[in-house]
Amino acid sequence: MAITTQTKTQNKTAFNQRQIITGIVLLVIGLLMFLLFARDTQPGQQATFGLNTDNNAGTIIIPDLVLPVQPSLYVLIVVIVFLAGWQIARGIRSTGLLVGAVAFAFVAAFLIWATKDQAFNLVGMMSNSLISATPIALAALCGVISERSGVINIAIEGIMLISAQVGVITATIFHNLWIGLIFAILAGGLVAAVHIVLVIRFKVDQTVSGIAINIFGTGATSFIASRYLERNIDGLNNSGTFPNITIPLLSKIPIIGPIFFQNNIVVYLMIILVVVIHILLFYTPWGLRTRAVGEHPKAADTLGINVYFTRYVNVIIGGMIAGLGGAYFTIGSVGRFDQNMTAGKGFIGLAAMIFGKYNPIGAFLSSLIFGFADSLQVKMQILGINIPSEFLQMTPYIVTMIVLAGLIGRAIPPAADGQPYEK
C-alpha cells in the first residue's frame, strides 16, 4: 500500500515536472513567434490569402481572406501564452490537442508574417500538400498494416521504387495506365512477399531484410533505367499520367472542393484506403486478429489465430498499398521513371506512421503535415522569404524525433513489433 502511494506521488511529481517543462517550451515558442515574426512587422500591413484555385471547375468563387498582419500575430501569440499559462497552472489533458493548437498557431503566424504585403494562394498550397502527402500516406499505411501485425517493414522505399518502375514500363508497353497501376500494385505485393518470406521462413532480421530490399531495389531500378529506359524513352518510359477527375457537385464547394475533389485516381484511392483500413483495423475480426498478432502472438496463437498466415497477408497487402504509392510517382504524377525518384518518401512514411501512432487516420494526418512542409518550401521561394528552405524541410524529421522520444505524445508500437515468432 505504502509503495503504491509512493509511486503515485512520484508519478504525480514527474507529471508536474513534465507539465511545467511543456509550459516553458510553449512560452519559448510564444517568445520566438514574437521575436521572429511580430517584431518584423509594421502596423497597417496586410496579408492576402487566396481561397480559390486558378483552374476553376465551376467552383463557387469566394472572396480572398485579407488579414491585418500585426494584430493577427499578436492574437496568435496571446493564444500561445494563454495555453502556456493554462498548462503550467492546470495542465492540459489532451496532448494531441495542445500540440495541434500550438503547431497551428505557429504555422499561421509564420504564414501571415511571410505573406505580409503580398498575396498567397492558400487553397492552392493545401491542394499541393494533399498531393505531396499521397505517397507518404500510402507508405505510412503500408507501415501501419505491417507493423500492427508485428512485422517491421523498412523496405517501403525499395518497394515503391520497384513499383514505380514496373508501373510506368507496363503502362507504356500496353498503352494503358490501368494495366500499369495493376502491375505496380502486384509488384509491390511481390516484393513485400519476398520480405515476409525472408523474415518468417528464413528468420532474417526484419530491419536487415528491409535494408537489403532497399539496396537491391535502388540498384535494380537504376540498372534497368540506365540500361533500357534511357535508350528507349518512348517505348518504355513515357506513359502519360492519370487525368484529374472532378467529382460533380462536391468539387464546387469552396475551399474543400478544389483541395479534395479535383484530384487523380491515386489520391482518391489513398483517401479511400485510409478510411477502409481504419475501419478494417478497428472494427472487424480481421483487424482484431491483426492487432492481437502484433501485440501478443503467443496468446493469439493459443486462441487459434494463425500468426504466420496473418503476418503474410498483412505484409503483402501492405506491399500492395506501397505499390500504389510507387505508382503515384510515375503514372500518377510525371509519367516517367527517374533514378531514385522516391527520394526517401518511404522513410518519411515510416516517420508519419510513428507520428500518427500506428493509426491509419493519424498516419494520414501526419502525412498531410509532411506534405504541407514539402509544398510550403516551394511557396517560400515564390514569396522570397530568406529562410533557407532546407531548414523548413528538416522540421518534419526533427518533429518525428521529438515525438518518438515521447516528449510530446508518446507513440507506442505494437508490443511484438520486430520480434520473430516461433512456435
Binding site: 528464413f202 532497399n214 537491391f216 535494380a220 537504376s222 528538416m394 518518438l404 511484438a416
Partner: protein, 417 residues
C-alpha cells in the same frame, strides 16, 4: 598464471562443433560468390548479343553459351582489371623499373589496385562504425549522415584554419570530423538511452537532417567562390599525405583505417569497456543486473559509432577528394551496413569486406565504361549478398552445407523499446 593453468586443462572443444569456420568464412564467401553469379546472370540477360544467341539456342547451343560467356567475361574482366590491375602490366612495369629505375609504368599498373584501396578506406571506417553498433546491440543506420557531417566538419577545419603546421592541422581536421560524427551519433544514442526512442528511426531522421544541412552549408556558408555548390579546397597542411605522385590518390588514410580497425578490435575484445559494450549488446537485462550502466553504454556505443563514421567522411575529404560537394558520399554509409554484416561485425572481417567492396565499387566504373554495364549492378549484388548473409539457410540449401542451425539473429527489437 592460475587462470592460464585452468584454461589449459580445459578439454579442447572439437572444432567441428564450433560454428566458426562455416559461419564466419564459408557462408560469407559463398554469399559473395552467389551474388556474383546472379550478377553474371543479370549481365547475360541485359546483353543484346547474348539474348539474341539464346533465341537461337536450339539451332546453335554453342553460340548461345559462348555469347553468354563472352558477356560475363567482358563484364567481370573489366570489373577486376579495373579494380585490381592487369598482371601483365604489373610485370612489364617491374621489368621497366628494374631496368631503368623509372617507376612510371609500375605506378600506372598498380593504379587500379590503389584506387580500390582508396575506395575501401571510407568503407573500413564506416563498416567499423556499424559493426561497433552491432556489437553493442544497436543498429546505426545513420552512418551516411554521420559520414556527411564528419566530412563537412573536417573540410571546414581543413580550409578555414590557415597557417598551422601539418602535425597540428591534420589531427585537428580528423578530430573535427570524428567529433561532428560523434555528436550526430550521440543524439540518437541519448534519445534511445533516456527515452527509449528506437535508434533505427532516429538515425534515419538524422540522415535526412544531415543531407538538408549539408545542402544548405554547401550552397551558402561553406560554398567556395565558384558557381558549383562545393567547399573550397582544404589547406595542404590538413591533407592526409599521398604516397605517390599525382594520379595515384593512395594516401595515409588506408593505413590509418587499418590502425583504427586494430584499435577497435583491441577496444572491443581486450578492454573492460569493450566487454561491457558487448555484454549490453548480448543481453541488456543481464548486463544491467550485473551492475553495468545500460544507459551510459548505449550513449557511448552510438557516440563511438558516430565518431567512426565521421572519420570515414574525414578520411574521404582529407585523403581523397580535398573538398566536399553535393551528393559526394555515393552511399558509403548505407553500404557499410552490408559490410558490417558481411564481416560478421568483427573488425578484421570488416576490413576484408571493405576491401572487397572497394574492389567492386572502383571496378564498376570501368565495367560501365568498357563493357557498358551500368554501375548499379553492384547494388544489386550487394543487396543479394546481404540477404544471403542474413539468411544462411538459403546458402546452406544451395550448397548443401550441413551444420547445426544457428538461431535467428535479432538485431532490432521493435521501434519503441
Amino acid at each position: 598464471m592460475t587462470n592460464n593453468a585452468v584454461e589449459n586443462k580445459k578439454p579442447k572443444i572439437k572444432e567441428k562443433n564450433k560454428p566458426g569456420f562455416t559461419e564466419n568464412f564459408l557462408v560469407p564467401i559463398l554469399a559473395v560468390l552467389t551474388g556474383l553469379i546472379i550478377g553474371g546472370i543479370v549481365i547475360v540477360l541485359s546483353n543484346d548479343a547474348a539474348i539474341a544467341a539464346w533465341g537461337n539456342f536450339f539451332q546453335s547451343p554453342g553460340t548461345a553459351i559462348k555469347a553468354s560467356w563472352d558477356a560475363i567475361a567482358t563484364g567481370y574482366g573489366a570489373l577486376f582489371s579495373g579494380s585490381l590491375g592487369k598482371p601483365a602490366d604489373m610485370l612489364a612495369g617491374f621489368q621497366h623499373y628494374s631496368a631503368t629505375g623509372d617507376n612510371k609504368l609500375l605506378l600506372k599498373a598498380f593504379y587500379p589496385f590503389t584506387e580500390s584501396l582508396v575506395t575501401a578506406t571510407p568503407y573500413i571506417f564506416a563498416g567499423l562504425a556499424v559493426a561497433l553498433g552491432f556489437q553493442g546491440g544497436l543498429f546505426n543506420i545513420g552512418a551516411e549522415g554521420q559520414f556527411y557531417i564528419g566530412a563537412l566538419a573536417s573540410a571546414y577545419v581543413g580550409y578555414k584554419i590557415v597557417g598551422l603546421p601539418w602535425f597540428i592541422h591534420l589531427p585537428l581536421a580528423l578530430l573535427g570530423g570524428a567529433a561532428a560524427g560523434a555528436v550526430w551519433g550521440a543524439i540518437p544514442g541519448f534519445l534511445k538511452a533516456k527515452f527509449g526512442a528506437h535508434e533505427v528511426v532516429n538515425t534515419i531522421m538524422m540522415n535526412y537532417i544531415a543531407f538538408r544541412l549539408s545542402d544548405w552549408l554547401l550552397s551558402g556558408p561553406m560554398k567556395s567562390s565558384g558557381f558549383r555548390p562545393v567547399t573550397p579546397n582544404i589547406e595542404a597542411s590538413a591533407e592526409l599525405p599521398r604516397f605517390f605522385a599525382d594520379p595515384l590518390r593512395f594516401n595515409w588514410g588506408f593505413p590509418l583505417a587499418l590502425a583504427v580497425a586494430v584499435l577497435v578490435y583491441w577496444f572491443l575484445f581486450k578492454t573492460t569497456l569493450g566487454f561491457e559494450i558487448r555484454a549490453v549488446g548480448a543481453n541488456p537485462d543481464a548486463a544491467k543486473y550485473s551492475g553495468m550502466s545500460v544507459v551510459r553504454n548505449i550513449i557511448l556505443i552510438m557516440t563511438l559509432s558516430g565518431a567512426l563514421a565521421g572519420l570515414a567522411g574525414a578520411a574521404q575529404v582529407l585523403g581523397t577528394d580535398h573538398w566536399v560537394g553535393q551528393g559526394f558520399s555515393a552511399g558509403y554509409g548505407f553500404d557499410s551496413i552490408a559490410l558490417a554484416l558481411l564481416g560478421k561485425s568483427n573488425p578484421f572481417g570488416v576490413v576484408l569486406a571493405a576491401i572487397l567492396f572497394g574492389v567492386l565499387r572502383s571496378g564498376a566504373t570501368s565495367m560501365q565504361s568498357l563493357a557498358g554495364i551500368p554501375i548499379h549492378i553492384i547494388s544489386i549484388i550487394q543487396g543479394l549478398v546481404i540477404i544471403f548473409i542474413a539468411a544462411p539457410a538459403i546458402i546452406r540449401g544451395i550448397y548443401r552445407i550441413r551444420t547445426g542451425s544457428a538461431g535467428a539473429t535479432v538485431l532490432t527489437r521493435g521501434w519503441g523499446k
